[in-house]
Subunit: 176 residues, 2 copies
């Protein structure tokens, strides 16, 4: 199942780190790529390009100038999931989402999500009904969706690779 | 099992949002409270106090002036888990951690984690060996530790409560 993420309302000055964390979490937990809307941010794109070149895989990042059009185009070929604390609890929604074989777009809000998004989504899903973070919401959503199998994923073409250790750090392929 | 989180190296100007997201994720996914080290940040503490007053529960936030002492004191009464991409894969470590009945301190790095932390920890745990975010790492760790039961948690004394909806938002207790 191919999953793309759409981050709404990115503001480079204010959101740079949170959006970077969000896109990194999308990649680490098995999404194939992400779009971001709001203000274009070449530094964000460059950070992500660098990570993918170092750590492998084919995660793509694209700017979506108009989020409405991005969602609209998606609805022609797959389903849209909107992560929001106001939605249906994850554990109630996840079985139907897993059972649906179509490609998915996971929409993740910024500061203010237009009400329209709730209507466009096929599912509005709450990863708890408590305030926390789009980063944790997306990671736990993907982890549940893939039932943890995303953790066995290989990232092809990695220049760097961690060799898990009980203590300390070991990275293979690092230029010392 | 009582879980506390220790956030290392907080820098108010640079980390405010990420640390806020981290502490909110700690609360939403079942930790009892958090300490943060680095620079004291009254605005962060105030944000968290407000969230707990609105959304209930008894999540505590305390400043730890010296992280070494905070970890040292903890080792007298419980176990220390350090989340790091260099550690042992979560799925290999989680059974032993769950089976251990003692209180846990989950240490989460900031920008640069002193090498000493790897030696002080009872477990160095990798929530994937890929770069992502301390926010997603902590949330997925707690979600695995509690096997999803944290999502059924009630937050007592909440002033606001979300009533899950398929579309739109419904909050009870909101002053309109």
């Amino acid at each position: 199942m191919s999953i793309q993420v759409l981050r709404l309302g990115h503001r480079p000055a204010r959101d740079k780190r949170v959006t970077t964390h969000l896109l990194l979490a999308a990649r680490a937990f098995g999404a194939s790529g992400a779009f971001y809307a709001g203000t274009r941010d070449p530094a964000l794109e460059e950070t992500m390009r660098k990570v993918c070149s170092d750590w492998g895989g084919s995660f793509s990042v694209e700017y979506a100038e108009e989020w409405r059009r991005a969602i609209g185009e998606w609805k022609g070929r797959g389903k849209v999931i909107h992560l929001t604390m106001y939605g249906i609890p994850l554990r109630r929604a996840i079985h139907a989402i897993r059972a649906d074989p179509s490609e998915k777009l996971v929409v993740v809000g910024g500061a203010k999500v237009p009400g329209e998004v709730y209507g466009l989504a096929d599912w509005n899903v709450a990863v708890t009904s408590q305030p926390h973070s789009e980063v944790s919401a997306l990671a736990v959503f993907l982890h549940e969706l893939f039932e943890g199998r995303e953790m066995e994923m290989e990232f092809e073409g990695a220049r760097l690779r961690i060799v898990p250790q009980e203590r300390g750090k070991r990275v293979e392929g690092k230029a010392v």
